[in-house]
Amino acid sequence: MPEDLAEVYRTTYSALVRFLYRKVWDAERAEDLAQEAFARALVHKPDNPRGWLFVVAANMARDEARRQARERRHLTLLKNEPEPAAPAPDETLSAELERDRVRKALDDLTPRDREVLLLWDAGQSYDEIASQTGLAKGAVGTTLARARRRLVEAFEKGSEAEHVAR
């Protein structure tokens, strides 16, 4: 294997898992996909492994999301009844609730804003983000500024809505 891939694995694996987790929302699945991405990198030996890995991971997560959407539709057809209301939160659930709020807030972003934000949070530089998203480097900061603002706003709005509902 290329020497630098081992290094990339050491430094990037958990960031890639984090990146994937915010797309598939399942820790084990995210790990599986990250490992699959690295396994493919071992075969393909890309020139720029880090960037390549994130592109491949994003594609895998997108395929995964499509598959899940299909399964959900199928399940909805089978069930055809609404989910029961979530039980009242307690202390042990608060972390999970917060995560779900963040997840909802991320869902409110445009795909591009979300992608840029997640790539940045996974440790990618503006240059790397630009080359992966096709944005001009100068637009990355603007996109990030907007994505961060919308994330915080959407999160707070979601929290308020929950307080009102309770």
């Binding site: 820790a27 084990e28 699959e36 396994a39 940045w120 900061g141």
Partner: protein, 347 residues
Amino acid sequence: MSHVDDGTLHAYLDGELTPVERERTEGHLAACAACRARLNEERALIERAGRLLGLAAPPERAAPPLHSLRGPRRGSGLLIPLAWAAVVTLAIGVGWYARGAFLMNGTAREPEQARLDTGTLAASTPAVSPATTRPNESVEDQLATSPAPAPAPAPLGRAEPRRDQPPPPASVVDGAAASRGVADREEADQRLRTPAAAPAAAKTLQAAGNVVAVAPNEMKDDSISREAAAWPTVGAKQARDVLGEDPGVIPGYAVGTLRSNPADPSQIVVEQRVGGGVVVLFERRSEMAAGGARRLVPAARGREDSSLHAQGYTSNERLARYVRSLRIEIAGTLPADSLSLLLGLIK
């Protein structure tokens, strides 16, 4: 210069401006209180957004060794959903037992060399009592709450430790299980894992969408694991006494139940949970008892043959691989990447 726009402020705070841009921005900030105020706002925003994303982070777990990720991949690269049932039958052969299989497959080895590897190894998946199976819990949770204590992991007796590999993955199993006593295990385990209780449990596990253990008696061939699931449990000390050393295990994963073959006490099975809820049973035979075990050769060979040629499995559901002297057999559907990981760990 005109006021600094938001994008530039973020790029500045992110340390992503070129030196020239940075100098120009700092020049303006020094002269413009309004932009300095905005800078502080944007800094707070960046921190807040970062904290929010931190709330939505997966648990940090150590990466498996990179070399373990190697292996044949499916063409599409898409993983088979882990929710599919897996009956894993691993057979690692050693000595007489291994030689039969290896000669059969043209990969004969010297017994001395083979003995370096772990003993006979069979893997199966757990049969968990339906009573302990809750649909919204992961398999690991269920297993961790079952009264099956895990003795301290013993190192796999390996001839060639990899120097370059990262630390083994953190145990996927709640360590609390390890601290429980051995005493109540025997009867509880027997109760939980009797074949009779298994089919319903397997179905429930499938419904939970986890990697699934198919009950031993749902296996279509007469493999070792089918019997092994009903073997009485033994303590770690007893296993060590029988084997003359600690039983071989996949390093980095907590060791589950140990069992002993009632027909051949020199045979010890170690049950381990690996990622995704797959439970592996390592079967190991005492070297000292190899002579005594010889009488079982025909039976063992028979099992080997019947599982090799078991009918009713598609090629997808039946895989047999060799890793040096290890014979790994998978019955049922297991994702290729899980198999590679498993093989990597065993290596």
